[in-house]
């Protein structure tokens, strides 16, 4: 009796030790797999939106140091909160867009998108005038000597910043959400790369980093925001943020600034005197895939 009890105890102990060892080994294996540039602080970082300002500032400081070392340029990472009483809205005049793709590349440079493999947050669709807004027959690969083509019109698509976003609902770890000013953001450090949000987005507006982003050092934009254009990691999802690093400082998004025909409009939906409110009141406005009840804050007008 006594002996058998002892035996059981011995057995239990050895099982416990085994589990301990396994757990320890797998932890080290995971850490090792994360690559050498992942610090302890980074590995154990919590979801950014749940943190107090002190912790946020520590993270920002760490990131600024890391990016400055990596790119050889003084980086700033802003953690600026939404401006009060602001809900951002975007207008795009489809009667004036000429399909020149200047916005696509201005966005790439402003927002530090990977050059190879290539990530574009804006896709310009070419549509036949006799078919109207018809996504099925649209073409994003058009390559013409001159634009606009007489028989086509152009329809740029990026994140629609939905008021009722399907992408944030499916995220299993709450790494993406809608901010108070209406911008849908991603915590790149919390994202696990499952890509459920990409499947949920009806606009193809989310993009995945299949490899470490490739941004030339001399082209990298060092003025960044935590939720915006700071360089991303391999294996995380990214998307248009209305240039959160610019608009929370009062500036227009980069695509608005570059558009050579002034087809892009931007402003505060809560300000009755804003340009965007004038458009909603006086122009013919449509939203993309209205039937899905995503309630985009990106308004196409003509």
């Amino acid at each position: 009796m006594n002996m058998s009890n002892n035996k059981i105890k011995e057995k239990k102990e050895s099982r416990r030790t085994f589990l301990k060892k396994t757990a320890l080994a797998s932890t080290f294996a995971t850490l090792a797999a994360c690559g050498s540039d992942t610090s302890w602080d980074e590995f154990f970082q919590k979801n950014f939106k749940t943190l107090e300002n002190d912790d946020k500032n520590k993270i920002i400081e760490r990131l600024e140091k890391k990016y400055t070392e990596k790119y050889g340029k003084k980086f700033t990472v802003s953690g600026k909160d939404p401006i009060d009483d602001t809900l951002f809205g975007y207008g795009l005049d489809i009667s004036r867009c000429i399909g020149c793709r200047k916005c696509v590349y201005a966005c790439v440079e402003e927002n530090n998108q990977s050059r190879d493999p290539q990530i574009h947050w804006i896709t310009v669709l070419e549509m036949a005038k006799d078919k109207g807004v018809d996504l099925f027959h649209s073409n994003s690969d058009y390559d013409r000597e001159l634009v606009p083509d007489d028989d086509h019109f152009y329809f740029p698509v990026a994140c629609q910043q939905c008021e009722n976003p399907p992408c944030t609902k499916v995220c299993p770890v709450e790494a993406t959400w809608k901010e108070k000013d209406g911008i849908v953001v991603v915590d790149y450090n919390w994202c696990i790369g499952c890509r459920l949000c990409m499947a949920a987005c009806p606009y193809g507006a989310r993009h995945f980093n299949w490899s470490e982003p490739d941004i030339p050092k001399d082209e990298v934009n060092p003025e960044t925001h935590y939720y915006g254009n700071r360089p991303r990691y391999k294996g995380v999802v990214e998307k248009c943020t209305f240039c959160v690093q610019r608009v929370r400082e009062g500036l227009y998004p980069s695509c608005v600034e570059i558009c050579p025909v002034g087809a892009r409009k931007f402003g505060n939906l809560l300000d009755p005197d804003s340009e965007i409110r004038y458009i909603l009141k006086h122009k013919r406005v449509l939203v993309l895939k209205e039937e899905l009840n995503t309630q985009p804050k990106f308004y196409y007008f003509y």
Binding site: I98, R101, S140, L146, G262, D273, H282, K283
Partner: protein, 174 residues
């Protein structure tokens, strides 16, 4: 109490004098004062302005004709059957434009001239829908004049070469 009233009085005097100093404002449809026009200078051809530099020594000729010795690079494609130079440019004061009612205006106010025919476009420009504004969505904006995007002599927007199409998503995996 008295000092408060005095302060209020001074404040309003300063405010009023500041308002008087504002040179040219444009008003949106809602009657609200928009930010000041801060358009860059009109897009003249090189060394062409002031026009009086050449024209002051020339005899003005009000006769409608095709120009041959000078300005022959300008091909009018803007209601050319009904319009010619002196419908917009002034015969007597060469550095100015004139409206249909004869009022002289500077080249910096050329939008007033354009708006005589293109009323709805001028209205939309004033409200920030037509044309391009840059700067701050909640503050100072930079405007462009009509002539910055539309050559007044040939206003149709010119076609351009588009930037490259996106990479094939199958690139490197074929």
């Amino acid at each position: 109490m008295v000092t408060t009233q005095k302060n209020i009085f001074i404040f309003f005097m300063v405010l009023i004098s500041a308002l008087l100093l504002i040179p040219d404002t444009i008003y949106g449809d809602n009657g609200k004062k928009e930010a000041l026009i801060q358009a860059p200078p009109p897009p003249f051809s090189e060394d062409i302005f002031p026009c009086t530099e050449c024209h002051s020594e020339m005899e003005p000729n009000p006769e409608r004709r095709v120009l041959e010795d000078m300005h022959d690079d300008i091909i009018l494609k803007h209601d050319e059957k009904n319009r010619w130079c002196l419908d917009c440019h002034d015969l007597k004061n060469r550095d100015k434009l004139h409206l249909a009612n004869g009022k002289l205006i500077d080249f910096t106010e050329s939008y007033k001239l354009c708006g005589q025919c293109h009323g709805p476009k001028l209205r939309e420009w004033k409200n920030g829908v037509h044309g391009k504004r840059t700067g701050y969505w909640n503050g100072k904006k930079k405007y462009l004049l009509c002539a910055h995007c539309h050559n007044p002599h040939s206003p149709k927007f010119k076609k351009m070469k588009p930037d490259p199409a996106p990479d094939d998503p199958m690139k490197g995996r074929k």
